[in-house]
Symmetry: none
Subunit: 249 residues, 2 copies
């Protein structure tokens, strides 16, 4: 097998499987590992792949996620945030939870939007605070170091006294049968209070979390008005939720 031919084969394999092992290539093509290594080195210099200890990785793979996915988690959340922002209009009272998706939402708010945001999430509050036309109401209570939101009876009582137009909730698990579930007792209670207080509940999640279940039940699907993921609303994964009467964006 010619050198050129061999290298073309290697590139093909890398693009196909996202990774190659020097040892496998060696036995496959029946050349010494040294030769493979030299090939990989040359191909790496040409930017055709990324050489690592033990083999090589596809260029696309390098920085991204495990199974073949092309968009970064951050970009996915940005897409979700962009959709969510459209639901907010001037003068609204909006209650939001914590989590990275909500932060992305906070960062995506148009500068000319003037509304009131209510939250116990410190990172979210910090974002809202920087916005020129957003009024911010902070929900006080003991601050949870993990989730960086205020949690407790005080927070829940305060939320109960409000009637916001919208509630944005970043969720960790949603499932057709079990609805929304989570894994933290206090967070669950807070989310329940938020859902009950709000006129409309909007759930934000990356599609990866759809059809996953966690130990504690938050609410059934009938409490959810809108579900936003990075997927197109026509995606078959979302069809059951549309059937369940949820507006999917």
């Amino acid at each position: 097998m010619l050198k050129r031919e061999r290298q073309a084969y290697i590139v093909h394999q890398v693009n196909l499987h996202n990774k190659v092992l020097s040892t496998s290539l060696s036995t496959e093509i029946e050349v010494s590992e040294d030769t493979i290594r030299r090939d990989l080195q040359e191909l790496a210099e040409d930017g055709k792949l990324i050489k690592v200890h033990g083999g090589a990785l596809s260029r696309a793979f390098n920085d991204i996620t495990y199974p073949d996915r092309k968009i970064y988690a951050k970009d996915i959340k940005k897409i979700i945030a962009e959709k969510a922002v459209k639901l907010i209009t001037d003068g609204m009272f909006v209650l939001t939870g914590g989590g990275t998706t909500i932060i992305e939402l906070a960062r995506s708010l148009p500068l000319n939007l003037s509304a009131t945001f209510i939250s116990g999430s410190i990172p979210a509050v910090v974002e809202y605070m920087h916005h020129p036309n957003i009024d911010v109401i902070v929900i006080g209570d003991k601050l949870s170091k993990n989730s960086k939101i205020t949690l407790g009876a005080d927070a829940i009582n305060r939320i109960k006294s409000l009637k916001p137009d919208l509630c944005f909730l970043g969720i960790n698990s949603i499932d057709l049968e079990h609805g929304i579930t989570d894994n933290d007792w206090d967070v669950v209670h807070l989310k329940q209070a938020m859902i009950d207080a709000s006129r409309k509940t909007v759930c934000l999640t990356i599609s990866e979390k759809i059809n996953s279940i966690q130990p504690i039940h938050v609410c059934n699907l009938d409490k959810v008005d809108v579900l936003i993921t990075e997927l197109n609303a026509t995606d078959p994964l979302l069809a059951p939720f549309i059937d369940a009467g949820i507006k999917v964006l």
Copy 2:
């Protein structure tokens, strides 16, 4: 599984769940925990995540450092903060206001101090949040964009229900005759509530503000227990306050 591949997987998991446990990763990927730990360390050095005891945290979510924009007279405030910190002992409940001097205090807290801090100042809360042994209680209410603290009846009511050991107040004006004065109606009310609630009131100020007066009266000098400036306690400028029964540091 290649090392790089494994690390990419870890980064993905961190970005997805905001945190990962070394143990879970270890069983998931089927390598020893030592290997996971070494991976986490390398990724942390590359700034891809934040390593903590037991696993790692996503960076996006945990890097909320409040913009350390040019604090006026920062070095002076650092001196004040160092003195103030000495008043706090383990187990104390400490109420603090906002302002750059308080931020400097928050940053000067020794890492092994374990106490409870209560505040409505978002920048201060962000600082306390980063401290490993400090419990934080957030005072909720409408957030003032100017001062970045929560202001209003709710905040005042909540403060009235507390009995903290210490209250640290950054003040804008102090004068022998008029006591402490300020220029914002709501802030004044909040400060009054804080002073009334606390067992001891500690006022922090740069010497520049001594013997200046502002339009709204906060309290008389007899409510002030300790006054901290960057000056030596023997400085003649401070003598009158010592005579008035205030402890000067």
